[in-house]
Symmetry: C2
Subunit: 289 residues, 2 copies
Amino acid sequence: MDPLSRIEQALNAAVSLAEGPGCPPLLAAAMRASVFPRGARIRSRLCLAVAYACGEDEPGVTDAAAAAVELLHCASLVHDDLPCFDDADTRRGRPSVHRAFGEPLAVLAGDALIVLAFQVLAEGAACAPVRLAQLVRVIGLGVGVPRGIVAGQAWECEKEANLAQYQREKTGALFAAATRAGAAASGADPEPWRGLGMRLGEAFQVADDIRDFVCSADELGKPAGQDTAHARPNAVAQLGLAGAIAWLDALAARAVASVPACQGQSDLRSHILTETGRLLPQGLVRQAA
Amino acid sequence: MDPLSRIEQALNAAVSLAEGPGCPPLLAAAMRASVFPRGARIRSRLCLAVAYACGEDEPGVTDAAAAAVELLHCASLVHDDLPCFDDADTRRGRPSVHRAFGEPLAVLAGDALIVLAFQVLAEGAACAPVRLAQLVRVIGLGVGVPRGIVAGQAWECEKEANLAQYQREKTGALFAAATRAGAAASGADPEPWRGLGMRLGEAFQVADDIRDFVCSADELGKPAGQDTAHARPNAVAQLGLAGAIAWLDALAARAVASVPACQGQSDLRSHILTETGRLLPQGLVRQAA
C-alpha cells in the first residue's frame, strides 16, 4: 500500500473510535472534520519514511506512530484556529471547526484528538511495550512542555519571543517527533533523528511564512497574510522574500546532509529532496531563480 | 509519606517540567496555577488507595499514575471554566486560569496538562513497560472518546442528553480511570476495578450537584448555582434535594460493596466509607437525617 493510503487508513481507524457507540455525535463529527479531508500529511509521511529507512519490522507500530503524530498536528490546527488565537474562518478550503461546529466543540475536538493520539499508540504498540514507552516519550516531547508545539504556540502570548526558538518549538518539535517516532517504531534509537526533524521543521515553517506572504487564500485553503495581520514574528518580515527563499534552500540542503546512518539512508535522502522541493509554488521558485 | 504529600510531590515534579529551561514563562505559570493550590485530590488519592490495596510494588509507577489522573482532572477544570463553557470567574477561591492569564494561555495550559499526563506516565512507568501500556490505555479511555470526560463534556453541546450517561462520562469515567490505573500500576488486572470507579464517580457527581444547589460561592471556592443558571441536567433538578441525598447514600453503599477481591479489601472499604462521608457539608447531612 502506498504511504498516503496507509496513513489515511490508520487515521480513519483512529477517528472511527470516536464514532463508536456512546460518543456524542457532534463531537465525533467535529473530530472527523478536524482530520479529513486530508492536508499534505507531511509529518506522518516523514514518520513512515524514517521507519522504513530504519528497517521497519512492526508495521502496526509504525501506523500507530504516524497516526498519532498526524492527530496531534490536526489538534493543534483546530485550537490555533480558535477565536482567541488566529480566529480563522477557513482551513483546507472549508469552514474551520469552530465555524462549523461552534467554539465549545472545537475546544473539545482538539482535546479529544490529543488524547486519541496516545490511545492509538497504546493500542497499536501494545505488542511492543518498550517501543511504546519510547513513542509516548518522544511524541510527548514534541507536543507538550517545555519545548513542544504547545510551548511554541504560547510564545505568541509572551511580550518578547525569539523567532528561531518560536519556530523550533511551534513547528520543528513535531517534525522531530515524527522522525524520532519513526525510528522508535522500528526499534532504532530515536536520538540521532532529532536534528533531521528540527531542520525539516524549520524549512517547513519558513516555506509556510513565504506562502502566507505570497499566496492567496484560495491557493492556501485558509486565510492569507495572517502573519502580517497579527504582527507575528515570521521569516519574510525578518529576511525579506528573497532572503527567506535562500534560507529555505539552505535548510533543505542541511536536512538532506543530516540523515543519520541507516539501511535506507540513500532512499530517504531522495525522499527528503523531493518533499522539500514541493514546499513552495513552482512559479515562485522559477521567479526567484 | 502520607498519600496527600506523596501526590503533591509527584504533581510538583510534573509541573516543574513546565518550568524547565525553554518553556514560555507565562505558560509555565498558567500550568502551575491550574494544578496548585490543591483541591481535594480525590481521584489521585483513590488511585493510590487502590494501588496499595492491590499490593503496590513499584511506587514510582503508582506516583506517575496518580499524578497523570490528577493532571487530566486539572486540565478538564481549566477548559470547563473557559468563556465558551461555564465562563467561571473563580476556581478553588482564586481567579480561574483564563481570568488570571487570558483565554489563549488557558487553552494552552489545558492542552499542555493533557500531554504532560502522558509524559509523566512515560517517564515514571518506563521501568515497567507492560504496565505503562495498560496505564495509557485505561487513562486514555477515562479521558477521551468515546466515553471519557471529554465526551461527557460534549453532551452539553447536544440537543438531547441522558443524565445518567452524561454523568457516567463527565465524572464516572475519570474515577474509573483512577481505580483501574491504581490496579494497573500494581500489576493487577484493571478490569474488575471499573465498577467501583463508576459508582464513586456517580456519587461524587451527585454530591457536586447538591453542593452547587445548597452552598454559597464562598463555601465552594467557585460560582454557585451554575447548574440552574446554565439549565444543565443535574440530580437536584431531577430528584429534588431529599431524593438526591438519598441517591448519594445508595451509591456510596453500592461502591463499598463493589470493591473487588484484593489483599487490602477491608482497609479500602473503610477508606471509601470515610471519603464518601465527607462529600456533603455536615450541616446538610444532619438536617437531612
